[in-house]
Symmetry: C2
Amino acid sequence: MPVGLGPLPTLHPVTGFELGISSAGIKREGRKDVVVMRCAEGSSVAGVFTLNAFCAAPVILAKKNVVGEVRYLLTNTGNANAGTGEPGLQAAARTCAKLAELTGVPETAVLPFSTGVIGEPLPVEKIEGALVAALADLSVDNWAAAAAGIMTTDTQPKGASRQFTHDGVTVTVTGISKGAGMIKPNMATMLGYIATDAKVSQGLLQDLLRDAANKSFNRITIDGDTSTNDCCMLIATGQAALPEITQSSGALFAELKQAVLDVSMELAQAIVRDGEGATKFVTVQANGGATHQECLDVAYAVAHSPLIKTALFASDPNWGRILAAVGRAGVAQLDVSKIDVFLGDVCIASRGCRATTYTEEQGAAVMAKEEIGIRIELGRGTCSETIWTTDLSHEYVRINAEYRS
Amino acid sequence: MPVGLGPLPTLHPVTGFELGISSAGIKREGRKDVVVMRCAEGSSVAGVFTLNAFCAAPVILAKKNVVGEVRYLLTNTGNANAGTGEPGLQAAARTCAKLAELTGVPETAVLPFSTGVIGEPLPVEKIEGALVAALADLSVDNWAAAAAGIMTTDTQPKGASRQFTHDGVTVTVTGISKGAGMIKPNMATMLGYIATDAKVSQGLLQDLLRDAANKSFNRITIDGDTSTNDCCMLIATGQAALPEITQSSGALFAELKQAVLDVSMELAQAIVRDGEGATKFVTVQANGGATHQECLDVAYAVAHSPLIKTALFASDPNWGRILAAVGRAGVAQLDVSKIDVFLGDVCIASRGCRATTYTEEQGAAVMAKEEIGIRIELGRGTCSETIWTTDLSHEYVRINAEYRS
C-alpha cells in the first residue's frame, strides 16, 4: 500500500502535447505497454538522464537527440533494452525509425524510452506493430491512461498538474511519473514526463528542468540504487497565447518555475510513497552545513542506513542509529558536540548527546505516524538539503528476493 | 545460523597475556560481561579505532592512552557508553582508575572498551564491583572464555590462532573478535584482540596492525554502517625467547606479518559469517582498476546494494543488478565496454553485455552455494581489492526491526 498516495488528481491537458497508448504484448498479451507522445511543431524539449555508466541504449539515443528538434517520445515497458550493447542501440534506433516513417518526421526527432527487464533483446517487431494503434489514440486528454501505460511495478499511476493565470491566459504544467529508480531492479527505472503550453527556449527549459530535478527527482532514494534507464523530460509546446518566457519575464518566469518545481516534487514524492514495501514516508533534512554536499552526505547516510530504515519500519525511535549514521557520513572535522537531532518536532539529541528533555514516549509518538521527519542540525554553516525516502520492510525483501524466482 | 563457521579452533596461549572474565550483571544478572586482559610488563600495544565522528567515550580514552605504557585492557558488554558526552568520559575513566588502583599501575595504563546499548549511562559501580573477580580469574588459558565473554548478539564465539617456529622457538599469534560493526545497532560494535609473544616495538606493531586491518577488518561489511565503538588491538608481550623483531628480521618478520594477517582475516571473516540473518558468505573482488580506491568503490557499491543482497538471499543470478551497481559506483570515465563480471568461475557479463556463453543454469548453480564469489574485471589498470559481505534476508529485517520492541 502506498503511503499517503491517493487516486490520480485532475491532469489538465496541455495544448500541443498529445498522448497515445497501445499494447505490444511485450511481457503479457493485452497489457498497455507502449506510449507515444507527440509534441507540436516548434516545441522545446529538455531532458535529464541517469548518471549510471551502464546507461541503456534508449538513454544514449535520447540524450544525443534531445538537443535537436523533437516531435515524438516513444516509451515501452516490459524491456529496458539495457546491457544489450551495439545490437540494443540498433534495436532502439529501429523503433524510432519506424515511428518517424509513419509520421513523416526525421528519425532523430523521435526519442526512445524503455523500462523493464535488463539484458533481454528488445522485441522490435512487437513495438513496431503497436505504433499505428498508439498514433490513432493520440489525444491531449490521455494523461491518466499514459500514467497507467508507463507503469511497471508501481501499484498506482502517478500524476500532478498545476495551472496559473497570467494576463488572463491560463498556463498549464502537467506531468506523470513511474516507479522509483531500481526499487524493482530488473523492472527498474524512474521515468518522468512533464509538459507545459508555455513558450520557452530549449536552453532555458533545460535549466528549469535541471533545477527542478535537483530539488525533487534527484533528492529521493529508496535503496540507493540508480537505474540504467532513469530519464525525466520537460516539454514546452508554446501553444499558450503568451509571448516567450525568458529569465527577464519577471513574475511569469517565477510562476512557471514554481509550477514546474511543484509538479516535479509531487511526482518524485509519489514515487517514494509507492516505494517497494514502503510503510513510511520519511523526510530527512540536514541543516546548518558548511556546504550543500556535506548536507547531502549526512542526509543520504541517514536515508540509506539499513539500521535506520528497519527502525523506521518498526516505528522504533532508535536515536543512537541516527547519531551513528551522521558520524560516519564522512564530513571532515565534524564537531559532534554541536549536533542536534530532531524526530518531528521532538529534540532527541542535543549537542551530540541524548537530549535531557527527551523521553522514549515522545519519540515513539512521532515514529508511530506514517509520515516522519528526521532533522539534523549540524551547526557548521547555513546550507540545507532535504531528501525523501522510505523504511525497509519485510515486504521489500520479499519483493526483491522473490522477483524472477 | 552462521555460514561455514565451526566451533572455536584451538586457541594457543600467549605467554605474558592473561585473560579474566567475570559478571557485573549489566544487562542480565549472571551474564559474563566483563573481561580484563593483562599484558606483561614491557609489552607493546597497538590499536586501530572506528572512524565514526561519534566515537564512544572508551574509544576516546583508549586512543589517547594506547601510545603510552599499557598493562590492562578492560572490556564490558551490555553498554556502549556512546552518545554520553562528558559524563561518559568520566565514567570510563572511573572504571580505569579503579582497575589501576586494584593492580597498582598508572590509570593511563588501563584502556577501556565498551559495547552494547548507545546513550545509556555506564553502570560504573557494577563494573567496578566485577573487577576483583576478573583479576582473580586471570589466566593465559582463558581465550575461549574471553571470546564468549565479549559476545553480544553474536551467535558463536570467534577466535583464531597461528604458530610458527623460528630457530627452534615457537611464536604464537592468537586472537578473538566479536559482532560485526553496527550489524546489531544498539548492541553494536566490532571488537578484536590479538596477542603475540613476539617482541616488537610499538611503532612497528602499529604498522603491522594497520596493514592487517586494512586487508581484513576494514574489508568486511554487513550493512555499510560503522559502529561508534569499533576497536582492534594488537599486543606483543615479547616473552618468546627470540630477539626483537624488526623490519630487518627477514623471514622472521615476514612470518609474523603473515600470522597476524591470517588471524585478522579469520576473525574478520568469522564476523561476516555470523552477520545478522546471513545465509551467504560473499566475496566481492574488483580487479583491473586504475586505483585501489576505484576498486573499493566498485566492490562496496556491489556489496551494499540491497538489490544484489536480496538477490543473493534468493540465490538469483541477477546479473543486471550487478552491472547497474558497477555503473553507479562513481568511477570517472568508466568504459563499460571493457567490463567483465564473473559469478564464481562463470562469466556472466562480457564487455558490458550479457556473455553469449552464459546460461541461467550456470548462474543458478553458483548462487545455490553458501559461499559465493563475485568478480568484476574493470580493464583499466592493475589494482585489485577484495571485500567480504553477506546477503540481506528476512531475518536481518526481523532482528533489526524487532530489537528493542
